[in-house]
Amino acid sequence: MNTLTISPSPHVHSGDSVKKNMYGVVIALLPALAASLYYFGLGALIVTLAAVLSCVFFEWAIQKFLLKTEASILDGSAALTGLLLAFNMPTNLPIWIIIIGSLVAIGIGKMSFGGLGNNIFNPALVGRVFLLISFPVQMTLWPEPGKNMTAYLDATTGATPLSVMKEGLANGETVSALMDKIPSITELFYGNMGGSAGEVAAVALIIGLIYMLIRKIITWHIPVTVIGTIAVFTGILHLVNPELYAGPLFHLLTGGVMLGAIFMATDYVTSPMSNKGMVIFGIGIGIITVVIRVFGAYPEGVSFAIIIMNGFVPLIDKYIKPKRFGEVAKTTKA
């Protein structure tokens, strides 16, 4: 007979693991990756590979040489950060910038806080925001969809619908006139527009969301509240003055709202722990996004909104507790 093992209960485990969750998110991102390859061709492939490989490399190198701990690159979290980082960059970005972005994402965004689970800000967004501030020109040259299948650095670029809207409104044009200059809502839904590698195709991202909800990787709270808040907020503005403020569908389908709401804001580590907290977090992201987009200087505000709300997560967790059993008991007593 073998020696008996003694451990406290429970003696069974669900079989869930970090790896399963991380690769689950990667699988959910595959439709968006396919859409990205379809619209941006070679550039999307190069950017994605460069970001994923450099993120994994930096994670391995930092753990091996700096921290001298066991490398955890197989859990998929570094690959996921790389993939999300790539999805947040234009597809004609030079490789050296991508590598800097990966270093910042993994090194500063994640490892300096103590590795997986300890970071305050979403690492991919830390990388992206760092690049956006450091290389504003390169980070806002958007290859046009469908025209650059074999081009990479030399891709023809154009404006994103959001920047068209922002600049047009600044020049005194009306929303209805500007709507004619950008692709139709259906095309926006399918992703036929300029933008970051992974953010364009709303339909692909929604497929990913459904997959993650079915596999119970995430709950509905964050994506629904972010999208809902943006829709309600922009809807009210649109009703107030339809010629000054674009409608909710335009805001939802352009820029990084879908990618942000579904994949970036729902990052386990940097989102609140309770359902109520998640709802507050989502509402905060929605409001800040719209404020930046409509009243701020940048045409796009999703990544800033998420990073700002990331900073509030510890506070939310401290004050917003899950509903406890027995709290409503007073009213039910016969």
């Binding site: 093992t5 429970p10 689970g117 059993f325």
Partner: protein
């Protein structure tokens, strides 16, 4: 929509291998060791000494307080010695060891199988008799039954809930008992209703036992006030607080007992024991024990005498498999890993679960990724991740603030954690410490 409790919950693989297996009477062992501490509360005081002759059902250790229980001899024979014996607690504790000679029962025990339906005793007499018969909660918590039946002054009870949920995977003891002793359980329920002076009783059964639901519902039609509630298969449906919430939608406030919302919960096994004690004058000295596991040859339900070594039960179920890595007393979610198969079974042993080596060990612990799954499965609405951290860092005042004492130790958090973190281990540690602090404060 089936009824269930309001917060959290998980659904582990049910693995009820021994379902539908007839209850077999286990042969009496050559020697039994009966621990004197096999219930919650004060250990009993032995009233026999070395060399005494005892009969089956004779009192061998008496209750030492309000929360304590009598212990009766499960066998007839001679007291060999009273000594420290390794029991399910993992420690050596005092036990009465009896060498078995024959099987001679106390004369006043009715050994016939006849169903006795008239309840002659009054409510108070029932409570007293239940106490004398050493009946404790047989679901595993082993809380003395007469304490629950004594409604404290100022409180009222309006409903009795019978816990027939058996939400622990693998275990089938209660299920089988309902199938075979349904009538007796119904009478037992009436006895308990009389003792509690209530007119309503609900039998809560999880929906994965349709035969038991059908059988009990049919029997319940003949008994006024008793209804069967079919419940969703969700762990921990059998937790006292969860069961009350599921059946009558009343939530017990933090730190309070079920009587606060006018309910008393008893296990079906306990109810059967009550029937036997009141109608047949038979104290509690044997119980149904499930012996099960993926690797075991013959998963079975046995009627076994208290004090029988676990090894005897395993032998009767086909022997201990070669690749055994863990032997658990109870179910896989809340049971206790045994450090030896020679420990005796007690009143609280609902099952013996054998786990093969390859699934017996835990996976390596990883960083918390703050996925919040532990929060979403917690049936008490706590934050297990936080409780683990504060317990580990010994921040006891924060642990108390976060209601660590509300934890029912169901293990859903550790079960579900993707990083395989030992959440419950630390929460239990914290509960122990915070409990100590709180008790020292009231003194």
């Amino acid at each position: 929509m089936l009824k269930t409790f309001s917060l959290g919950g998980v659904h582990p693989a049910e693995n009820k291998f021994s379902a539908g297996k007839k209850i077999e009477v286990l042969p009496i062992p050559e020697q039994v060791s009966v621990p004197i501490a096999q219930h919650i509360g004060a250990p009993s005081e032995p009233v026999v000494k070395k060399g005494d002759e005892v009969k089956v059902g004779q009192l061998i250790a008496k209750s030492t307080g309000f929360v304590s229980a009598n212990i009766h001899s499960p066998v007839s024979g001679k007291v060999f010695k009273i000594d420290d014996v390794l029991d399910a607690s993992g420690y050596k504790r005092k036990a009465i060891i009896i060498k078995v000679e024959g099987d001679e029962w106390n004369e006043d025990i009715d050994r016939s199988d006849d169903l006795k339906t008239d309840i002659t005793l009054s409510g108070e007499e029932i409570v007293k008799k239940v106490g004398e018969s050493g009946i404790v909660g047989l679901g595993g918590a082993t809380f003395p039954a007469q304490v629950k039946l004594s409604v404290p002054p100022g409180k009222t009870c309006d409903v009795l809930i019978l816990n027939a949920v058996e939400c622990e995977p693998y275990l089938t003891a209660d299920h089988q008992l309902m199938m075979e002793k349904g009538e007796e359980i119904m009478i037992g329920t009436e006895i308990l209703m009389k003792a509690l002076k209530v007119t309503k009783a609900i039998i809560g059964i999880e929906n994965n036992k349709p035969d038991a639901i059908a059988h009990m519902s049919e029997l319940a039609q003949k008994h006024e006030g008793i209804t069967v509630e079919s419940l969703k298969v969700q762990y921990p449906q059998g937790g006292e607080k969860q069961l009350i919430d599921a059946c009558i939608k009343r939530q017990i406030p933090s730190g309070k007992l079920p009587i606060e919302v006018g309910a008393v919960v008893q296990n079906v096994g306990t109810t059967f024991a009550v029937y036997e004690a009141i109608q047949k004058n038979k104290p509690l000295f044997e119980r149904v024990v499930t012996v099960t596991g993926k690797s075991i040859e013959k998963p079975s339900n046995f009627m076994a005498r208290v004090g029988t070594p676990v090894s005897n039960l395993i032998e009767a179920a086909g022997g201990l498999p070669e690749d055994t890595g863990k032997v658990i007393g109870g179910g896989p979610m809340m049971g206790k890993a045994l450090s030896s198969i020679d420990v005796p079974i007690t009143k609280g042993s609902s099952g013996i679960l054998i786990m093969p080596e390859k699934i017996a060990t835990r996976k390596p612990v990883q960083n918390c990724i703050r996925c919040s799954k532990c929060v979403s499965v917690c049936p008490m609405g706590l934050s297990p991740y936080l409780l683990m951290t504060v317990s580990d860092k010994a921040v006891w005042d924060r642990a108390e603030e976060e209601k660590i004492m509300d934890c029912i130790e169901c293990g859903s958090c550790s079960y579900t954690c993707p990083s395989s973190r030992p959440l419950l281990d630390y929460i239990r540690l914290g509960k122990g410490k915070v409990g100590q602090i709180m008790r020292s404060r009231t003194k």
